[in-house]
Assembly symmetry: C2
Homo-oligomer: 206 residues x 2
DNA sequence: TAGATTGTTAATCGATTAACAATC
DNA sequence: TAGATTGTTAATCGATTAACAATC
């Protein structure tokens, strides 16, 4: 029923490159072509197709539009999910710009901060509310996903507020590892760790 | 010789939490305590310690300062690596603020852009050069790691410039999957994929 | 000593890769 | 048909978890 994490990550990438192909009027694509676009192997593409129950044709490969639709139905389940961005610092603003309008089923419809200068105004086209009123707004606006870009010192406190307010999915960009109850899905990304990983593996180059 | 990717990621996180403990004057830490701090199991901590060849004592656990030093010697190899940030947009600036001065062995000493208004000036305290002069500066300044935050349309072209200039490690924040030769280490982070992953798994909650 | 902790081997789990039959 | 491609099973690889002896 639930697909593997890595398959979901690849489906997200397949879809993105397929959408550009769609506009190129390309109707069909072979597993090795799709594989090349994201630099993986054709076997892996076919395995993913198998896992999601999508079949191609032997002669022409996979039908681009149908595959996009199939991925839509899996990742988004054909239902809109509302998203809030929490913490309008440098990083928050950058993420807001970057992630907006990338997926019509994922709508960033609110942001939260504790700065009086931001509260009540629009930020990158999105209304900004006080973190103190988060619970009310999250329930009213039916927001179930939060992107967390607050300063590390506020991370735990704010995550608890969000969880109490009914948030079901958190994308944590702070460098504080969070602990969430089992009825919340947590995805963490630690950019310092990423950079240090590059530093480590770069030592072995040449 | 080369440690597993996942172990390196955890070492990076261990070090970060250990540094705060150090200032709390805590001399020793048990595997279950360190595990709790980053929400993993004590077995995994001990396995990582084994892999890096670091021993604790049965009575008191692991010596905090020594362990920090050990991780320093692994991740940074006790040598400074110079880093450039390429692409001073919203995301680039945010990353620059975020990643600066986080590790004394990883020095962000230059940034590159193609905007005449930025070239020749300082950006977040770092000198900004023209991407056209990247090769010269990268060689002169002995930069071997690049953080890529250019717009997607420029990603491939710029990555090729960097690789030709001798960059050995790339942290790619663009949503274009890159292909690099085997003498370059590539780490990619795709935030759209992260968000879509949260969207998918959140559907199964409750 | 008894209890708690480390270090390490074995077992399991998850993901990727290899191999190949089926078929257009 | 011959060649190329898909779909799927088996094999392998890598990472985590379980189990437990050693020991302070």
């Amino acid at each position: 029923m639930v697909l593997p994490e890595k398959t979901i990550e690849r489906l997200s990438k397949y879809r993105r490159v397929l959408i550009t192909l769609k506009y190129d009027q390309k109707g069909y694509i072979y597993s090795h072509e799709l594989a090349n676009l994201i630099h993986i192997t054709p076997e892996q593409v076919r395995r993913d197709m198998m896992l999601i129950g999508y079949s191609g044709t032997l002669r022409r490969g996979y039908e681009v539009n149908q595959l996009i639709e199939k991925i839509n139905s899996i990742i988004d389940g054909n239902t809109v999910q509302n998203v809030a961005l929490v913490g309008i610092g440098n990083l928050g603003r950058a993420m807001l710009n970057y992630l907006q309008n990338k997926n019509r089923y994922l709508k960033i419809i609110a942001c939260f901060d504790n700065d009086q200068n931001k509260i009540g105004k629009m930020c990158c086209g999105i209304p900004c509310y006080s973190i103190n009123d988060a619970s009310t707004h999250i329930k009213e606006l039916k927001i179930n996903i939060a992107i967390l870009t607050v300063p590390t010192t506020a991370a735990i406190e704010v995550s608890e507020i969000l969880i109490k307010a009914g948030i079901k999915g958190i994308l944590n960009f702070t460098t504080i590892p969070l602990k969430v109850p089992s009825n919340v899905y947590l995805e963490e990304y630690d950019m310092i760790t990423s950079l240090e990983k590059v530093a480590y593996f770069t030592q072995f180059i040449k």
